[in-house]
């Protein structure tokens, strides 16, 4: 049975993906309350690859930043960067699921669709 777990971004950062990957091995779909940045995504992929085995083929992953950055002006970019730095949290969402159970996560500009 596939479980769904909501995880705060701070927890993921603190545990450096270790706990998260263990959960993925235990048939759990993870939802993080922030968008991982590109370097974090690459690190997660590399860490996942270390654990690939006959029973665990990897992950499906997708993250989304709900803010419309492309429409931001210079001042708005500076303001948001400052807020992000002060709060220490990136807005958005990340969904990660074990590939044996999640067929794909389709990413539209403003929504994520998970195919089980």
């Amino acid at each position: 049975m596939l479980k769904i777990k909501l995880v705060p971004y701070e927890k993921v950062k603190e545990q450096k993906f270790g706990r998260l990957i263990r959960d993925l091995h235990e048939k759990t779909l993870i939802i993080i309350d922030a968008k991982l940045n590109a370097k974090e995504e690459a690190q997660l992929i590399a860490e996942t690859m270390k654990g690939v085995s006959d029973g665990f083929s990897g992950i499906e992953l997708s993250s989304l930043d709900f803010r419309k950055k492309a429409e931001w002006g210079r001042m708005e970019k500076i303001k948001n960067a400052l807020v992000e730095r002060m709060v220490g949290k990136k807005r958005g969402i990340t969904i990660i699921g074990p590939a044996k159970f999640v067929q794909k996560i389709k990413r539209n500009p403003e929504e994520l669709l998970v195919y089980l």
Binding site: N37, A38, K39, E41, A42, Q43, I45, A46, T48, M49, K50, V52, D54, S57, G58, I59, E60, L61, S62, S63, A99, I105, R107
Partner: protein, 210 residues
């Protein structure tokens, strides 16, 4: 586009000031089976007279980093010398059963999967060493997927110049406009590495972008 080129030039000048003198490294990155090694072979045959690696319809044929040193290309009176690095395709999942379905024996498939996972890790590690990256995408496929987004995001975060190569333009279903719409801020060139279509234009872009 002009600002991006100026920024790329500035990044390269700054890098050359702070690093010891060495050859420029151009990496081929992309998802599995997008034609990275086919393009590497095309470049190497055109300018060195020999291929770089084996290609196959079975995914993850390239499972180790491969490099050809001192590749010198010329176009319209300009030239560029670089080390060409072909990387294993990046994937978020590798299932040995996919290789079995492609016709490999179970033991061989498992070994291929094991090597492929190492290849993905190596590709990610090598990102920091690149001076420029050619992101090779299969132009018949939807470009909006997590692997492509993660690769481009990582190159952006490292300020590494990028040229997106929309490969397989000879195939029905090739759609360069889809890639342009997905990644509007990057320079994009459409080619068929296998057939050599638009390859001179590609060399011209390569010299221009670097």
């Amino acid at each position: 586009m002009v600002i991006r080129r100026m920024r790329n030039g500035l990044v390269l000048i700054i890098r050359s000031l702070f690093r010891r003198k060495r050859d420029v490294k151009i990496g081929l990155y992309g998802p599995v089976n997008s034609g990275k090694t086919t393009l590497a072979n095309r470049i190497c045959v055109d300018w060195l007279g020999e291929e770089m690696g084996r290609v196959s319809a079975i995914p993850h044929e390239t499972r180790e980093i491969q490099m050809k040193e001192r590749v010198k290309i010329k176009n319209n009176g300009k030239s560029l010398t670089f080390n060409l690095i072909d990387t294993p395709g990046i994937a978020t999942k590798i299932d040995f059963e996919d290789f079995v379905r492609a016709g490999l024996k179970k033991a061989v498939a498992k070994e291929r999967a094991r090597e492929a996972t190492k290849g993905v890790i190596e590709s990610i590690k090598w990102l920091d060493s690149m001076d420029m990256v050619l992101v090779v995408l299969d132009s018949t496929k939807d470009p909006i997927n997590q692997v492509n987004i993660t690769i481009l995001g990582n190159l952006d975060a490292r300020n590494i110049p990028v040229l997106i190569v929309g490969n397989k333009t000879d195939l029905r279903g090739s759609n360069l406009a889809r890639i342009r719409n997905a990644f509007p801020k990057y320079p994009i060139i459409g080619i068929s590495a296998k057939k050599g279509e638009n390859i001179q234009d590609f060399y011209s872009h390569l010299i221009k972008e670097l």
